[in-house]
Symmetry: C2
Subunit: 413 residues, 2 copies
C-alpha cells in the first residue's frame, strides 16, 4: 500500500498567499482596467546591486573554464562565505560565532522548514500569534501539532498573543515548551523586541531548557539602537538558540536563493534514550544527507555583500524601503488608521476600522483602492482585525497607494 | 527539555565520502609530493557549456534592472522550464507527462531526501544493495529503518542484492514493501535495466500497490536502445512511480544546483485513516511550505539545455565522459580486473582481486597508484568486494590512471 503521511490530510488546502493570489486574479479578471498595486506578499522590487551583479558574472565566468570550474561544494557552504559572515555579521559586532557554526543554504525558508527533522516527534511547540505560517505548517506535517481546533489553532501548540492589548510584547509561555519560535523584527506585525525584552526569553529558555528558533530575516531593517540584530547579542543565547538569516530582504535575493543558519557548538539536546548530542553535529548530518550545498554563484553573490561597495549598496536598498515604510506609516495614520511596526521593519501592521474583519478589509482595499495587502487572520487568530502592508514597492507606487487610501476611504473614524 | 530526534543517535558518524575524504587528506599530508588522481566522488570536471554560460549571464543582467528583475518565483518552478521539460524530456519521446506534474528543485538530492516527508512513518522500504546511502539515511532519520544490524543493514529495510551472482539484476522483493527505491542506470554499479526488466518492477508495484521512487540521475548516459530513459516509458508507471532527474551529471550542474521531480497526477496514496490523496498535491503542499523555488538564474541555465546548441553541447560532454568510461573499462579489464557497468553509465564497478576487501583495495589503489576510488562496502553489504571508479575526470588523467594501475599493480590474477 502506498502509505502517505496522515498529517497532510489534516492541513487546510491552501497556503495564505495562494488564497490572496486567487482573490487578486479573480478581481483582475473582472476589472482588467484596474491598476492594482501590491503591498501584499513580502517580496522585494529593487534589482540586485552592482556589486552582486559583478560577483555573479565573475562566478559564471569561473564556471565556464576547467581551471576555475566549481562542482559540488561543501554541504555546509564555502569557507570564503562562512568566514565573512562570522567576521562581519558577528565578530565585528562583538558576538562570538565561528565559521564552523554557520550553515549556508538556499534560503531561510528551507532551513526553518527542515529544522524540524532534528527535533523529537514529541517536542512541544510555542509560537507568538500572529505567526509566519511556515512554523506551524511544518510541525503539522511532522505530527507535532495535534488536532485542528475550530478557531484555526492546533491543540498541541501554544499560541502567545501579540496584540494592541499587550503592546505586541508576548508573555512568556505558560507551560515550558521544548521549542519556541521567535521572529524579530516580527513578521507579520513589524514590531521589534528590545535587548532587555529578548533577554527575558533567553533567560526563560535557560531556566526551562527550551530551544529558541530565532528567525532574524529582517535584522537589516532595524533602526533603533536598543534592538538586537542577533539573538547572540544576549548573554547565554549560544546554549539555547538557533538563528536563521536571509539575504532575501536584506539584499534582494528572493530570486537568487541564499541564506544561512547559525547552530552554536555549545547548543546541546537530549534524545529520548538520554543521549546528549550537539545540535550542530545533527544539523550537519541532516544537511550532508539531504542537501548538496547552495549554488556556487549564489554564494559568491552573498560574499560580495561584505565588500565596502556591497555594504553601501545594501544599506541604500534598505533605506529606500524604510523611507517607503515611513510614508505608509504617516499616510495611513493621517487617514485615521492605527498602525504598528514600520520602524525596525518593512512591514506595517494596520488595525482594521471598527469591527471590520481582516478578509473584509482586504476586500475593501482591493475593490475600492485596488490595493493588495495581506489579511492578518491568515497569520493566526490574534491576527484577526489587522492587515499587513509592506514597504516593498517603488516609491511612486507607495505614494500612490497611500494617496488612494486617503482619497477612496476618506478619514476613517 | 531540548528533545532531539532519537534516530540521529543511531546513525553511523560519517558519511561515506567524508571518510574517503579523510583518508585522502591523511595520505596527501604524509606524501605531499604524490600526484593523486581522483576517480572517487561522482563529480563532473568539464566546465559549463557556452549555451548555459550565456543564459546565466543574460539572467544576471535581467536581475540587475527593475523592469526584468525576478523575486520569488513559483515554488514549483517557472513554467518556461517546466514546459520545456515536459516537451523535450517526455512528450517528444512519446511519454505522457505534463508541466503541471513537474517540480523544479535545487537538485535531485534535496528531493530524494525530502520526499520521505510525504510518506507514512510506518511505510516499509526496499532498496537494491549496493545503494546510494541517501535512500537509507533519510529513512533512518525518519524512524522507518528499525535497528542497525551487525552487518550494516537496518532491521526494517529489505535489501535486494545486486551482484555478479545475479548479473546485477535484482530479484523482486520477498514481502511487498510500501516504497521501493530504484536507481537506473545504477549508482554505484553502473549497470542498467532493459525495458522488459524494468517492466517487471512496474507490474509488481501495480500488483502489490507499492510506490517506486525512481532515481534517473544518470539517464543521459544511456547508450543502449533497449534501456528506458524514464520509468514512464513503461505502461502503468504513472500510477506507481515518482521520477527524480538531475542536471548535475547531464550538464555539469553540480555547483549550479538545479534538478526536477515528476509526480504524476494519477499517482495516489492512502493515509492511515483511509483518506486517498494525490501525491502530487501533497508534494506541492510540502514544497510550498518548506521551499521557496530554485534560483531564477539556475532555471534559465537549465532552460538553455533544451536549445539546439544546448543539446549538442550537453551531448558532447556526455560523450567525453563515456569515452573515459570505455578507456577505464578496457584498461582495467586488460589489467586482469573484472569490471561491470560503464556502458550506460559513467561508473565502472570493479571486482576487487581475490578476497581483498573494498577498503583494502581502496588503500592499495591510493598508496600504490595514488588513485582515489570509492569502496563498494560504503554502499551496503552487497558492495563488499567491489570499488566504484568514475569516468568524471579529464581524458589525460583517465589515461594516466589506467596506465598507473597497469604499471603498479601488474596483471592481476
Amino acid at each position: 500500500m502506498i502509505l502517505i503521511n496522515q498529517n497532510f490530510t489534516k492541513m487546510p488546502k491552501s497556503y495564505l498567499f495562494t488564497e490572496v493570489g486567487h482573490r487578486v486574479s479573480d478581481f483582475k479578471r473582472a476589472h482588467p482596467e484596474a491598476d492594482v498595486i501590491s503591498l501584499g506578499i513580502g517580496d522585494v522590487t529593487l534589482p540586485l546591486s552592482p556589486a552582486v551583479v559583478e560577483a555573479m558574472k565573475k562566478a559564471v565566468d569561473e564556471m565556464s573554464i576547467p581551471e576555475t570550474f566549481h562542482g559540488y561544494g561543501p554541504e555546509q557552504g564555502y569557507p570564503f562565505l562562512r568566514e565573512k559572515i562570522a567576521r562581519f555579521d558577528y565578530n565585528d559586532r562583538g558576538i562570538n560565532i565561528s565559521a564552523n557554526e554557520i550553515f549556508i543554504s538556499d534560503g531561510a525558508k528551507s532551513d526553518i522548514g527542515n529544522i524540524v527533522d532534528i527535533l523529537d516527534s514529541q517536542a512541544t511547540i510555542a509560537v507568538t500569534d500572529p505567526v509566519y505560517p511556515v512554523y506551524i505548517d511544518t510541525n503539522v506535517m511532522a505530527g507535532r501539532a495535534g488536532k485542528p481546533l475550530a478557531d484555526g489553532r492546533w491543540s498541541n501548540i501554544e499560541y502567545i498573543p501579540c496584540c494592541i492589548e499587550n503592546n505586541f510584547i508576548p508573555k512568556l509561555p505558560t507551560k515550558a515548551p521544548s521549542v519556541i519560535y521567535l521572529c524579530y523584527p516580527n513578521n507579520p506585525t513589524g514590531t521589534s523586541l528590545t535587548h532587555s525584552q529578548l533577554s527575558k526569553w533567553v533567560e526563560y529558555a535557560h531556566r526551562n531548557n527550551c530551544l529558541i528558533l530565532f528567525d532574524a530575516a529582517y535584522e537589516s531593517y532595524i533602526q533603533r539602537n536598543n534592538v538586537p540584530h542577533s539573538i547572540y547579542e544576549i548573554s547565554g543565547a549560544r546554549e539555547v538558540a538557533i538563528e536563521f538569516r536571509s539575504y532575501s530582504k536584506t539584499a534582494g535575493f528572493t530570486g537568487v536563493r541564499c541564506g544561512y543558519t547559525v547552530v552554536p557548538s555549545s547548543l546541546k539536546g537530549t534524545a529520548s534514550d538520554g543521549t546528549t548530542m550537539q545540535l550542530r553535529d545533527i544539523w550537519l548530518r541532516r544537511q550532508c544527507t539531504k542537501f548538496n550545498g547552495a549554488s556556487y554563484i549564489a554564494q559568491r553573490a552573498a560574499e560580495a555583500l561584505y565588500t565596502t561597495q556591497g555594504q553601501q549598496q545594501t544599506a541604500a536598498q534598505v533605506a529606500y524601503y524604510m523611507e517607503n515604510a515611513s510614508i505608509i506609516l504617516e499616510g495611513l495614520t493621517h487617514s485615521g488608521l492605527t498602525c504598528y511596526g514600520g520602524i525596525d521593519s518593512p512591514y506595517i501592521w494596520v488595525k482594521t476600522p471598527a469591527t471590520t474583519s481582516s478578509w473584509n478589509f482586504f476586500d475593501i482595499l482591493l475593490e475600492k483602492c485596488h490595493i493588495v495587502c495581506t489579511p492578518g487572520a491568515g497569520f493566526g487568530p490574534a491576527g484577526e482585525g489587522y492587515v499587513r502592508v509592506t514597504a516593498f514597492n517603488s516609491r511612486q507606487n507607495t505614494i500612490r497607494a497611500v494617496n488612494r487610501i486617503a482619497d477612496k476611504l476618506g478619514h476613517i473614524e
